[in-house]
Symmetry: C2
Subunit: 117 residues, 2 copies
């Protein structure tokens, strides 16, 4: 005998686990733009800062450390002088290229005006 | 006569404008998961709250208002009693299905462990 359903099916919805994980990373304001810039190739800290209007030095530094810890990017030091640090995507970061391009295309089509704040 | 280039090309990088716009929306922790749940169909406030572990009532309410203002979702009131409010994606929100599926597939493959906090 079937157990009597006490609730409608929509009450059983649970967010996809992959989506939850993705937005633990991309749901932080600057991570998407940082990865997006690095998709075009490695960049120095100053290049990244210049490429992303509005990001502070502290924010960029925190996000780069975090993306490094998550294994999405690699930090490379070139012995100097001057000593230079550059960042490039690890394989799993580079694999975001296709979904990010889709998101950019979506924005191109659907977010022509800046969203309301 | 060509103007002498004073800087390397990587210093001219600027983040894609579509990416900037996308992450003004999806770069907020809960927006991706909310949209993702609504892709499966309309949901009441309580269903959404249950579907997204960790979200507070206040956060969900703020994000829904914001996503509504951006035109990504619609709020529908069913006269009661009991009066019920449900949310469903507008066309441009629904158009996020494909990029979100790609992101979920990426997470499935590359984010098997929870990212470091």
């Amino acid at each position: 005998m079937a157990v009597k359903q006490e609730h409608a099916p929509e009450q059983c919805k649970v967010v996809d686990e992959g989506i939850t994980r993705v937005f633990q990373v991309l749901g932080k304001r600057w991570n998407g733009p940082i990865i997006s810039v690095l998709i075009d190739g490695p960049a120095h800290f100053a290049d990244l800062r210049r490429a992303i209007p509005g990001i502070s030095e502290r924010m960029l530094s925190d996000r780069l450390a975090e993306l490094g810890a998550t294994g999405l990017l690699l930090r490379e030091v070139t012995e100097g002088p001057p000593l230079r640090v550059s960042y490039r995507l690890a394989e799993k970061g580079a694999a975001l290229e296709s979904p990010l391009r889709e998101l950019a295309a979506w924005a191109e089509k659907h977010l022509t005006d800046k969203p309301a704040c």
